[in-house]
Amino acid sequence: MTSKATGTPVLAGRDLISMRDISREELLAFLDEASAFENYTHPILHGKVLGSLFFEPSTRTNLSFSSAMHRLGGNVIGFADAKVSSTAKGESLVDTIRVVENYCDIVLIRHPLEGAARLAAESTGLPVINAGDGTNQHPTQTLLDLYTIRQKRGRLDNLKIAFIGDLKYSRTVHSLIETLTHFDNEIFLVSPPTLRMPAEFLEELDARGTVYSEDEDFFSIASDVDILYTTRIQQERFPDAVEYEKVKNAYRIDRASIERIGGSVTVMHPLPRLQEISRDLDDYPGSAYFDQARNGVTVRKAVLSMLLGVSRE
């Protein structure tokens, strides 16, 4: 991924904080370059150190970044729980970043406060990657989702994409839908009334001219859908347990429901799943959720290399 004007990597030295910072052209160039990182294991990041700061727990993102760094010959330092960092002793986030920047070449941060990654990026000259800031952004999740969509469907436009489940709180869905407004697609939003997409995101879709519809019934919209992006409905979002019981299985996708839809739908999920995707779908050819996990490493290898300004050999 290089700038045509300068020949230098477009994201070199940049931060990856929010998908809102990335243009359509940069996104497409990134996805092109990322595909070259599939199965790529040359030690091009030898001698580079990733400072991995997880102020709240994460399993897949943390392991996925570590795997990406190790597969390219780099090293990882950091912590996986703020209880073991100086934050527990009252050290401010800015101070933590100012200290850690002396130990590494690139910073990865997950933090419960929204905007923490942006603040971290403003506190250091090193590239900073946002691995999730509260309910705000998780840009590498969006990148790997887009990568998977293009891998499975061969394009990012002229698709019918249904989002199902918790559309109110899911940052994954918000970020992916907003980024998809760069492209011409038809979006279906399926959720219980209490978990509808927030108005500000619908306004954004309207402003960008994206065609979308909202529904509570999955089967009323499901025919001819290309992508089915399902999300976890979390019990803690429901003050009334009875309400949760009503909806928890309403958006459960299984082999029978996929056969009822017909066609060749690609089923995606950011994982971990609860009951929303039946295990009898795991060997369905269109199931892409484990591919998403694999693509996460590919995409993160590309992100680390590009931000560090290191080209493939």
């Binding site: 929010s18 809102r20 986030l93 933090h111 419960p112 406060l113 929204e114 905007g115 923490a116 942006r118 603040l119 800031d133 509260g134 309910t135 705000n136 952004q137 500000e200």
Partner: protein
Amino acid sequence: MSEQAADPRSGEKRPAEARAAVPQSGDKQIKVTALREGTVIDHLVAGTALKVLTVLGIKFEGAVTIGLNLDSRKAGRKDIIKIEKREVTPEEVSRIALISPRASFSIIRDYQVVDKFTPTLPEQIENMIRCPNPSCVSTAPWMSTKFTVLRTDPIRVRCHYCERSLRKEEIELL
């Protein structure tokens, strides 16, 4: 209450506010004293004048005249404020624009309107708005807040940190 001052370029000295009567329903009019030095903030959204006064602070050297819920040809209803011996600063203008984007400002010197303008918001607003998101990192007491102006009318801003977008009614000034 529109400005009745002579064209400042004419050199003719006429009390800017001498004929600044506020048309009301029927034939009744409110007479307002002429302003020698100060600022007139007109076309405020009805009901916002008191909020604008808090932006300007409560200590004034001269008289302050407030008109609430007056007839307006443009907006139906409007508020207006006249402040004696006080000119607004650019920062105050930006703050007031967040409350009332279509407000107009007239700067009066020696009974003349020497400047009249409507506010334009900068692309980025620093340290003027409080982010209402309790999970936003900018709510820490030592942090500056920063907002990007997405739209001006109706106003819509986005927090630089948590990226939450706020409508006019959600905007709380610092």
